[in-house]
Amino acid sequence: MILQILVNGVLLGGFYALIGVGFSPVWGVTNIINLAHGAIALLGSYITYYMFQNLHLDPFLTLPVSFVCLYIFGYPVQRYLMNMVVKAQIFMLLILTFGLEIFLVNFMTTFFSADFRSVTPEYAGKSIEIAGVVIPYIRLAVFAICMVVTAIMGFFLEKTWTGKAIRATSLDLEAAMMTGISPKKIYSITFTSGSALAGLSGSLLSLTQAFSPNIAGGLALRAFIVAILGGLGRVEGAFLGGLLLGVIETLSAFYIGESYKNAIAFGLMVFMLIVKPSGLLGRKYYAEVKH
């Protein structure tokens, strides 16, 4: 039983890790806490839903579509909205993204309705059983995709020139500019890829659970928790934080009660902020407040 719970937790955690991987670098690099992350993810969910419903495409085939669509969506949002206030007081951005979230959620409620939707391909109910532990194929696939994307993102940030430039910008904006890095470009790449990853995670979400525009806030808060737990702006941090959150949520749902799992997750985040604001893997600079 305990093994089954742990496996469920890890599978859920993989998904949380992907949400965090999209959210955390944006915060770490551009100083934008994107409260609209959940709403953007849900746009991805609706893309998958409508393509599955109307074109009868396999939901996994729609992943690149929502990735590209939200990459394109992220660009003007960053260029013409976020960039305008990026140097203002920190909470301006917070409210701006909250305003965007309210707009997007209401947009989805108006045009896609507030009903709960779910994507159920033919193979939805099938599962594999290993040593008494039941693993649904879809959840396994979602987990695998999440891990691969997280690894790619980690590789991108660690090894490529663009990734190195992104990390340099997050460490020291002025020094990065001196070496010829254009913060405009870096900010735009970071935000758009964050938005694209949000779309991807939204598409995967639609496969594992029912969704409606109203869960956007919950998703964004989960992204917060993952980023805080693991340490800001770091892919490894988001990975660790995601797995941790998934396991803690499933464990507390089982042992303390399903309805307390949110309270525990948020309490844990506040505790982490008090004890070690830089997160489990956070290093110096990565979590420093920029003004």
Partner: protein
Amino acid sequence: MINKKLILFIVFVIVLTALPFVISGYWLRVLTQTFLFGAIATGSNIIIGFTGYPAFGNIAFFGIGAYVTGVLTTKYNMPFFYTLPFCAISGIIVASLLGIPILRLKGHYFAIATVGVMETIKELVDNMTELTGGGPGLTLPIMQGEPEYIYKFFYFIMPGVMLFSLLILFIVSKIKQGYALRAIRVDEDAASVMGINTPVYKTFAWAVSAALVGITGGVYAYWLSYIDPHTVFGGTYPVKMFAMILLGGGTTVIGPMLGAFILELISEIVWSKFIAIHGMVLGLLIIFIILFLPKGLFETFKGGFSFKKLFNNLKENRL
């Protein structure tokens, strides 16, 4: 100059007192709601505008106040007015206890921590079904009397709370401790070097703010006579509160109240005209305020209105 302001203020109060005898019940309700937001924004401004700590989750105290009044009136049959001091005290206790660890955080981290606190309290209230009624909410005893009398009663209570918050804010802006708070906003390290015990002052500011917002919550609970965790903890309240403070100007005493009046009346008009897209318009309105009026309406248009100033604001903070 001071006298001019005073006369304006007295005229404002007289107009408020006279209004319920000329306007309809609908507008009475709208105005009461506006005063409610005025009270929340004014109360929160002590920590947000004066001290410069973006307490995004300050609505937590609103919810605490609402539930204190709710539980005391339903479970202990306490008269409504006696519950208000308890709202204030519970706000002060929670803010002081949390303030000591959380106010060490700065900027984003503080904002996020307050959101975390708000969500945690919401979930706890949601789960303490025996005491608080849990997710389905709590129904308070309805006030005795004619509906018209009740409407007018709350019409006078709500601005009473708002003016009380305004008075406290005014006093804080004048006393020495208020200067200390502003020093913290401008430069906390420098303030600390000057001999200001910053943790104590910050906690003081948050506790006062929590008490005021808590009282507002108590009045809200009795007014609507029904509360549930998802409305009183969060929803669109935090962002509306912040937008109001920004619109009016957080460093002034009267700004947040005016911001509340403007935003709430606009959104009420929008609500009645375009009910289907109301939420989208609210989101756009907030985005507009952040982009074009980050310094507040009055600071921006000090020397007269012009569109150029709006665009200057837009250019100022861009990358």
